[in-house]
Amino acid sequence: MISDEVERALCVRLAEAIYESNLSRDAIITYEMLAKRVGESIENETFNYCVNLLATSPKVRLLDMHFLFFDPSDAEHIGEPIADNEVRAAIESGYLIDPRTGVQINDYKRHLEAYFTRVVLPEEPA
């Protein structure tokens, strides 16, 4: 399916990084983590293409995307998963309601970090 050799090889390396690293099923996988594991720059277009392919293609999907919320008023905040429907509501309304404080955050797109969980493969034990 992937005709470009470089892209195909990178997708294989990403798959190995996702499945051969003892990551638990609900482990948080970030773009940065994947970039580090395959030795690519986070801004590399081919890297982003391959990660996004593995997160979108129905035929080779290995990743599900979600978001972590970082409280802009708390520099120490380590980030916490935010429900997909809250992200949907923020995009629809143009602002995010801080799930902890109820404060309205207008520049919410800077405070949501994209992350992935790995797709459970059919051959994996339940």
């Binding site: 399916m1 005709s3 773009y31 996004n52 995307m65 405070h111």
Partner: protein, 218 residues
């Protein structure tokens, strides 16, 4: 860290990034059928650019081989594209996504206008349902002959003769491409078809060493 803002920015930097970005964020932003069709059409532009750029690699392939390449290229953009899947018959290209949206494509080499006409009727009366969210399709016309402008102008005339009431509008994103809209026989809803010529004519006059001189199909 990679924020939602970063994901959107990176997605907008390239044509294929825009398509991936739309699929990646569809669970959050939603995706209408109209947006899906725009993505399919942009995906076709992106997927066929390689054919336009290097026709000598494709000119000796048959319809199925070229279409299979295009389906694979669409898959790499995040679509679920099937070659020759059963849809009232063996439809050349079926593109679906989880929302229940469907786009159907019929591929034809430009042997003659009867051949194209057969493809158009297969698409509109055999494969397509005309249902909501399934009322767009495309004719992928692989042109082995020169001057796609004249080929497509003649095809427009034949199409209007064979499908009374059809309306045609140009699609400026690709040379000589156009849309047709006609009432679907099953539902009476408008069914829109993108007629997309893809030139695989290759006949360089300098005859560089290694080129395969390929004459226009007879």
């Amino acid at each position: 860290m990679t924020t939602l803002e970063d994901v959107e920015r990176r997605s907008n930097e390239t044509a294929r990034g825009k398509i991936h970005g739309a699929f990646l964020l569809a669970p959050y932003k939603g995706l209408s059928y109209t947006q899906f069709i725009e993505l399919v059409e942009q995906g076709l532009l992106y997927s066929t650019a390689q054919i336009w750029a290097n026709p000598k690699f494709y000119v000796e392939l048959n319809e199925d081989q070229i279409t299979h390449y295009i389906c694979s290229a669409l898959d790499c953009l995040g679509f679920d594209a099937s070659f020759n899947s059963f849809q009232g018959g063996h439809c050349d290209v079926t593109v679906k996504i989880a929302f229940g949206y469907v786009w159907l494509g019929e591929a034809k080499i430009d042997h003659d206008y009867e051949w194209l006409n057969k493809g158009y009727h297969q698409l509109t009366t055999r494969y397509s349902t005309g249902q909501v969210n399934q009322n767009n399709g495309g004719m992928l016309i692989y042109c082995k002959k020169p001057r796609i402008d004249t080929i497509m102008e003649k095809w427009k005339i034949r199409l209007e003769e064979g499908a009374p009431g059809v309306t045609l509008t140009d699609w400026p994103e690709s040379a000589s491409a156009f849309y047709s809209v006609a009432k679907h026989e099953r539902t009476g809803a408008d069914f829109r078809v993108l007629h997309l010529p893809i030139s695989i004519y290759f006949n360089p006059k300098d005859k560089a060493k290694g080129d395969v001189a390929v004459q226009a199909a007879q």
